[in-house]
Symmetry: C3
Subunit: 380 residues, 3 copies
């Protein structure tokens, strides 16, 4: 246990971190190097790359990242930065192309990132070696159709192997055979860890999340979150006995995914996974998938994005209605944004010191902060 974590132990109980960890720009810089750029971050879904040459662009941690599929069908990720003078090589947000051509001086790159041509500057001329001038590569992995990237130099341990024991049975929901039905992004004025902490406990749910508590089994959720230990965790969001999915009335919101059967309690239970501290949370219900992704922007700002996925062949307006599909989590996110911003105002107080966390209901915060502290204490 590191010194930082030690300081979060107070007369026998566990607390949040010291105030400066939520404010200090230097801490944020360290977090960038030691946490954000060493983890798999959710970037999109394989349905966005249906064919070779399809691409899309994501803004992640201040970088513009291109995700694309090569002619060989491989998913690749690059920085959207021309190797000449830095201009973006993709100016739109998605499309299909044979090559990426920088709009500034017409340098062109293959889908594999290789430099194809620099006008008036042929390969080998005057010391220029095209092999050194491919687009900057970004680590990428695909997990049951979900695309994750890592911005740092080192490729993290493989996501599939990290999650293997934690997401048994996930394959029957055929996540790769879904499509995005909706997304919502919130710009939140709070340190990213305040959102992380908020997400990791349901102790505040009864008082604040009326819609979420309609179908969710709060008592079971208290137990569930205790199991959220380590950088990777699995597990569903438990429902009340009467509910088939996380809807206001417990009724299905869309066509069951993959081979799932509403008559099968294990399928109704669903599954899920999480990565902390740079939070990605995937909740698999029988009829839809939620992905929450937290993207820190600065010490005092964070982006929170939620995407809803349904079965690839579900028909909008017939099989699912976006308004109904999203109403529980749009309400919940809106409530959480308010809570986090109000909590962060207190964390910014010059006299703020955290009080005690609840030993079990807030145990997942303790676990995630321990993971965070370990990462921050690593060399480099």
């Amino acid at each position: 246990m590191t010194d930082l974590l030690q300081s979060a132990i107070h007369s026998g109980y566990f607390t949040l971190l010291p105030r400066d960890r939520y404010l200090d720009p230097q801490v944020f810089e360290d977090e960038y190097r030691k946490v954000f750029s060493r983890q798999w971050l959710f970037a999109g879904h394989i349905s966005q790359l249906a064919k070779p040459g399809f691409y899309f662009v994501e803004e992640i941690l201040g970088e513009s990242v291109i995700l694309t599929k090569t002619q060989e069908g491989e998913v690749r990720a690059f920085l959207n930065v021309c190797r000449h003078r830095g201009h973006r090589v993709c100016e739109g947000t998605s499309g299909q192309t044979q090559r990426f051509v920088c709009g500034y001086h017409r340098w062109s790159y293959a889908l594999s990132g290789k430099l194809l041509g620099a006008p008036a500057m042929p390969d080998g001329d005057g010391g220029v070696d095209y092999r050194d001038l491919s687009l900057f590569d970004v680590h990428v992995t695909v997990y049951h159709g979900l695309i994750f990237v890592c911005l740092g130099a080192e490729r993290p341990a493989e996501l599939a192997s990290q999650l293997a024991d934690k997401t048994r049975g996930i394959e029957r929901f055929r996540l790769e055979h879904t499509k995005e039905a909706f997304r919502e992004t919130y710009h939140v004025k709070a340190n990213w860890k305040v959102l992380l902490e908020n997400y990791l406990e349901c102790h505040h749910c009864a008082g604040s999340h009326r819609e979420l508590c309609k179908a969710m089994d709060l008592g079971a959720m208290f137990e569930e979150t205790r199991g959220w230990v380590g950088e990777y965790f699995g597990g569903s969001t438990p429902l009340k006995e009467t509910a088939l999915t996380a809807s206001l009335d417990g009724h299905l919101l869309s066509t069951p995914l993959g081979d799932a059967d509403p008559a099968n309690p294990a399928d109704v239970e669903g599954t899920g996974l999480g990565i902390v501290p740079t939070l990605t949370r995937v909740i698999v219900h029988i009829d839809h998938v939620l992905v929450h992704a937290l993207r820190p922007l600065s010490p005092e700002e964070v982006s929170w994005q939620t995407r809803w996925f349904v079965k690839a062949d579900a028909v909008e307006g017939a099989d699912y209605h976006p308004d109904r599909l999203t109403e529980v989590w749009r309400a919940t996110n809106g409530q959480d944004v308010e809570l986090c911003q109000a909590a962060y105002k207190g964390v910014r107080s010059r006299r703020f010191v955290s009080g005690p966390l609840h030993a079990t209901r807030e145990a997942a915060i303790r676990s995630a902060l321990a993971t965070y502290t370990d990462m921050m204490s690593a060399a480099g």
Copy 2:
């Protein structure tokens, strides 16, 4: 005399401080610790806490502060920060309550600030001791109905004793028996000391403040400001012989306060007090009270607030008219905001060095900067 002040002496005359004192974020941090958080700052009026359980919330120096009256009738002040995870315990700006309940996890506090309950976390359980978890206390004092707070750890010397010699006769105006009739807040793009300096001299009034100069006796004011020495000072704003109050025509603007009598020259003279360098200025005219309060926001931004008080039983529309009551100082404040912002542009110039201050007309600036310099030179 400290080195800093010494540097403000130039070939025999006195100047403003060196340029960096008006720009440097580190100086502002030091000022927070050594000046702002060691002084009594105006926070409101006792009429806002008419009964036990009444409360109001003020934003002061980046902190949200709750002012309230206990069942025993005591005025108390707390940070509006839950001791659990920092969420605000008061979300509105005023009201009446039996207890403060945090909207995040339902921790509840008595009007005395004591923790009453933390759900699922009983007192004494797992090392949790409610006695350690009261709301953060803020020093508070009431002076003739005016409420002041101090945000620092140390309680400053008692306001009443500091002012005793300087505000003789103030009691006959019954400030505690007034009510707020109007307030106006200005967000000014200037260092707070530029506003302080502007307020402390009337050398600019003839050229800039037509409305203020209608009733104010400028020559007497030059004399008056020379007496503004030390952290606390008293004294009225002198009027021309023909004026009963600071109005455009010299006529009364509201019912005389307390026992004051327009036929009594001493009552027409009025009284007042000031605190520097974190300026609070109270001007007591026979029929209304003005409170100016300066609240620094950052090295380059400051809030300037003026409140107008009239006799508690004066009737709006009959005894006083808000437009007329406020027209002199709304005009004057608007003019001062422009002057201070334009002066600050010059102070920011890389070549700025202050010229000479007028030996008598700008003497109060010299005095206040000496007080400032003494505070900044103190240990801690």
Copy 3:
């Protein structure tokens, strides 16, 4: 060659500077002292000071600068900062006056900058010596009617002598006998050097600047820019054989300047000058003059201004039409702003390193960065 420049040499080819030079606030501060405040910066035209007492105010590098003509006909420049407490002494942007009077405490200054009077503070009284309290002087020079200032303490080498060999024949265009017909200012979210670099090469023009390429001879321009070596350079913007001026159709846009004759190829060739790295670029065509001026605002923001001048007696609507006069460069500037902002996003990437610059087409960048590096390496 300095270490900084050395680091821009990579396996035989030349690159941009290291990424931090485009981001770091401390680098920007050093640039202010060592580059921006040591160069002649374009400030205006002598036609703005037609008579003694005429003045105009320019915002340059965070300073408000007054340009004026004395009774003796001398052009002078001062900081717009009162020597008392910093308030602006000119509140408008131009006019005619006998003296500058500060609106705060009525200090007044002669057109020569001398303090004429400080109310209630006579010269010689209490150590006050008016001779020490003139307006802060700014270096100024006039070159063929173009006014330049230098904000630093040291007067730079005389502009006329620096440019003498580079602008032969410029006098026949009678730049002093022109008037401003239009100006446009762009606030660009990029480091100033990204705009400098963009301006110094035409390698991007064919792909991005359709309008500019109508009349400009791109091949000749590639040659021209190779000659842009050192802090000062001369030279025209070469036109295609069929064009008389830089218009969309090659036809004249206004009355020929001075003694210039459209039948004379040397007059059609025009002339021009440039100053780097704080870029001023003057392009003299036979019928109009363009002045581009780059004014850094912060590490990540820059102002780019273009002014168009025509013969002093040309009549708007008859001899020239502002829309037509300006359409090439308004289009070009708009395109360059987009390019520079997009390039700067890449330069900000944490993994950005510049690729190779083209040995000849981007040679002027190499030269200007060498000049920049030499200035930054100087003592002081």
